[in-house]
């Protein structure tokens, strides 16, 4: 709950929403080190090219997966906005991409900046004047964030109620453990019941984490990969969903050499649509080979795969291959395109997935496809907005930490390890959950101990 000034923080520094570019900013002593684990320069090293834009890739430090093509710049202290080492990573301006770059920074050791914290550091370190204290106060009091969160208030209110309920259950367990430690003669811990309770809390947290997916999807966009063999009309489909001529469409197979990414809003949810090169076993040239690789990469990180087939032609071997690749996606939809032509293929080579018949050319069936996309994206959890969901990377990380320490505590308890260490794990769990609900534990626990147990000594 405290605000250290000398750790490394990260934030998206450009307004949320779609823009040509967006900036993730790191500030603090580890800024360079963290940036180096996230940013892979095309040539040279970031640390040697001070204050120069460096071209390269943002990568996921764990999987090594490329996130975005970016520019990065390293500005050493003290001549920076915060007077600390600062690195800015300039990515493409979609919220999803920026969130992923930010998440990569957080996983490499940065702490998510609080609203206004960069400015606070600028102030504390003498970069901006005391006269701006008022403005800072507004920022620190998180009014900006409050406004930003307004739209999500309903969701978050429900989320914190759910987290609070789970935390309360854990606090009760912790209180029982603590009572047995501080009042060994009055309180005997019912180990079996505690294990049961902790197990239930663990499941609850796991469900919460699953909801993170749909919650974060709501906020940061659902990634949809449009895949299929060449010339089934993927780009036409993209254009139809966007309602504009974004992708170049020709009757020549393999026109789309690279992936194209565009955002579209459907029922209030942002979808990041990726048009990909046709998946072919025999690429004509190197460009097509790269295109196919990128299509596979897009498929690998999508939330929903749109497998497109040509209804006007018989299925080919390549279609079957596409179906096989698509089967690995978390969720999928089969689209039979070109239904304006005489239909030859009635059913796609995919089992147990919704089939939508459309004509990208006439627009027939596109609304049904939109609806199906929303349904597919949120099929694991209940309807959008109905269920309490985790909507930010910060909350997700807090729940992940809570889950990790709870699982550890439970394991220790089952293995018969001492209760003081179990208590430590449970404290960390409650602390992590408290970060979502804004509560601290010590007094809560004592309160529970006193109200739950009759103590004598």
């Amino acid at each position: 709950m405290l605000t250290p000034l000398d750790d490394t923080i990260a934030a998206i520094s450009t307004p949320l929403g779609k823009g040509a570019i967006g900036i993730v900013r790191l500030s603090g002593p580890q800024a360079l080190a963290i940036a180096e684990s996230v940013f892979r320069p095309k040539r040279g090293a970031l640390r040697r090219r001070k204050r120069q834009l460096c071209y390269g890739w943002a990568v996921d430090p764990e999987s090594g997966e490329l996130i975005d093509e970016v520019l990065a710049v390293f500005m050493p202290a003290p001549c920076t906005f915060t007077r600390q080492d600062v690195v800015e990573i300039h990515g493409h301006g979609g919220p999803y991409v920026l969130q992923r770059i930010l998440a990569a920074c957080l996983r490499s050791g940065a702490r998510m900046a609080r609203p206004g914290e960069m400015t606070l550091r600028a102030f504390v370190n003498g970069r901006i004047d005391l006269a701006q204290a008022e403005a800072i106060r507004d920022l620190v009091e998180a009014r900006g964030e409050a406004a930003r969160r307004q739209a999500l208030a309903q969701l978050e209110g429900r989320l914190s109620a759910r987290v609070r309920a789970c935390r309360q259950r854990l606090l009760q367990c912790l209180a029982e453990v603590e009572a047995s430690l501080d009042f060994p003669e009055d309180v005997e811990l019912d180990q079996g019941r505690t294990i049961e309770q902790l197990g239930a809390a663990l499941q609850e947290l796991q469900a919460l984490l699953r909801s993170a997916e749909s919650g974060i999807l709501t906020r940061e966009g659902v990634r949809v990969a449009i895949v299929g063999r060449p010339n089934v009309g993927k780009s036409s489909l993209l254009n139809a969903l966007l309602g504009e001529e974004r992708a170049i469409v020709t009757p020549v197979p393999g026109t789309t050499r690279d992936t194209i990414e565009e955002c579209v809003n459907i029922s209030g949810v942002t979808f990041v649509l990726t048009d990909t090169a046709g998946l072919t076993e025999e690429p004509a040239d190197l460009a097509e080979t790269i295109g196919v690789e990128r299509a596979r990469a897009a498929l690998a990180r999508c939330h929903v795969a749109l497998a497109v087939f040509d209804a006007s032609e018989p299925l080919r071997e390549q279609d079957a291959a596409v179906a096989q690749e698509v089967a690995r996606a978390p969720r999928m939809l089969a689209v039979l395109n070109k239904c304006d032509l005489p239909v030859v293929t009635e059913n796609p080579p995919l089992d147990s997935c919704p089939v939508i018949r459309v004509s990208a050319k006439t627009g027939a069936g596109i609304d049904a496809l939109r609806e199906a996309l929303v349904q597919a994206a949120f099929s694991t959890d209940a309807e959008i907005g109905q269920e309490a969901a985790i909507t930010s990377e910060r909350q997700k990380m807090a729940v992940e930490r809570a889950l990790k320490s709870l699982a550890e505590g439970l394991e220790l308890l089952r293995a018969g390890l001492p209760l003081d260490v179990v208590a430590l794990c449970l404290q960390q769990t409650c602390q992590a959950l408290g970060e979502i609900t804004g509560e601290t534990a010590t007094e809560d626990i004592l309160e529970l101990v006193f109200s739950s147990f009759c103590l004598g000594k």
Binding site: T3, V140, E141, E185, A415, L419, D420, T442, G456, K457
Partner: protein
Amino acid sequence: MAERDFDCIVVGAGHAGCEAAVAAARLGCRTLLLTVNLDRIAYMSCNPSIGGPAKGHVVRELAALGGLMPYNTDRTFIQIRMLNTAKGPAVQALRAQADKALYSVHMKWALEREARLCLRQGMAVSLERGGAGTWVVQTAEGARFSAAAVILTTGTFLAARIMAGEWQAEAGRAGDPPAARLSQALQALGLELVRMQTNTPPRIDAHSVDFCQVEPQYGADEPLYFGLYYDREPPPPLFGPDEIHPVYPIGWQSGWRAQLPCYLVRTNRETQRIVLENLHRSPIAAGISQGAGPRYCPSFEEKVIRFPEREEHLVFLEPEGFATSELYVQGLFTAMPLSVQEEMLHSIPALREARITRPGYCVEYDVVRSGQIEPSLQVQGLPGLFLAGQINGTSGYEEAAAQGWLAGVNAALYAHGQEPLVLRRDQSYIGVLVDDLVTKQHTEPYRLFTSRAEFRLLLRQDNADLRLAPLAHRLGLVSDAFMAAVERKRAAIEAEKARLEKLIIRPDEGLRELLAARGLPAPAEPLPAAQLLRWPGVPYELIAALSPPPSPLPPGAAETLEVEVKYAGYIERQLAEVEKLRRLEERPLPRDLDYTAIPGLRLEARERLARVRPLTVGQAARLEGVNPADVAILLAHAESLGRRREGCSTVQQDEQE
């Protein structure tokens, strides 16, 4: 410096006062210890017991700091046990039953052996500022004493009254008069007082107990002590087995020392009925007592009200000494009228014939409202005036002794014109205690729990000496020989740790047998000894049996070594937490900071900060009513103030923006 009678005056000779007086005297202060009754020094007005979780930790810390309580307990306990042995290294704690009379007598002897310390009987009635930075204490008999520093350890005596049923008396405890006039003196100095309350159970005659119907609770059958003796001989008990009162059926005695068991009995539905029918006659239940009582040590009335579904409550009969037949009825705290107390006791089978020797009662007394002292235990704005023990709203002999030690040290440092000593939360339970007193608001007597310490795994009783002895040695409160023993232990632990990291254990027959004897499987591959030690159920002695250290470890080293290797991961986690917080601790806030002039602080935070006047940003962050946003603003303000004082320009353009 002006003429003064003493460097330091300690008012009150309870557990806080004794530690305070001796610490001050040993640090070179001519010290006066003033008490209302010289025959009640370090008297255990309530439970004749010392230690337990967190409290036992504090006593160990006092052992490392050169305090009196550990040694005094070791010489006089009639029983000692280690609690929580199976619950982990952080919460293991010693608890002893002390001989109440011997404890008091032995403490008096110790005080009388102290150079520079004068004992004096007298009731303090006034406290005023004298000339030239001195304080003047006056007794009811008219004696006046001046000193640079005064430590008040008034216990439950400030404007105290005791109650049981319809009976009331002005007393600090049964048999001793209250400090009736000192409260006014404190209020005149600007201190704000509140009422608190606590209670004590009846004492009964062991001759009237049916020992066939009790469950004995025995002490440890291996030597245990609060004090740290290393290679020296532990102190002998003041009484031997021959002196034990013949009323106690001695069916068992530990080989290493004469001990007495305690005896467990249980209340029943009948006891509950008696209490419920007479609730209106208890000043606690009827709300006649104005003070706030402790929830962790509730009166039996409160237990029955709050947990009506519990028909049975445990009651421990604890001998008040070797040679006395008086038993303390632990768990039956009550302020019922005498006749009801008798009925309650008689409802318990073993106590059908029980004769009360002293009735239980509750005591209500003045304490200084929280938020008026500094981490040195000095009163804010009144240099030289220190408070320790129950006057600060705490309960417990151990909590009192700890504060007494710290107040004594700081009074001496003050008298010598030196900077005060502040103990940190990550360093000691005493630090946790004092920091809680400074930063939190208490509405009931404060007691330490291990759960109050966020760094519990670091604050173990086995490493109290490693944590605190260097500090005490720098002050001059422990001897060079003691310090050398602590350092030998530390070095031995480090050396053995390093050896265990390098030592490779092979899964041979010998290992397999040793592990099988403990129901553990053998490892498939050779592995470092340290790694094997981290296995659940593998103790250090097993490793030492396989491969003994080059020279035997000094006493206590093996225990700490085992904990530090086994729980290394968790200990490191806590150390990382400490490091994070320490940076905030190191940012000072000026005492004269005008909180009304800082834009952006919320009103609640502003009031709280202005009242407590925290010394560091870290301390401010722990205050109730101060939220992270306030802390950020405070931090920003403190930094900008610091810069202004250094005379730096705060705005510089740079090429980036």
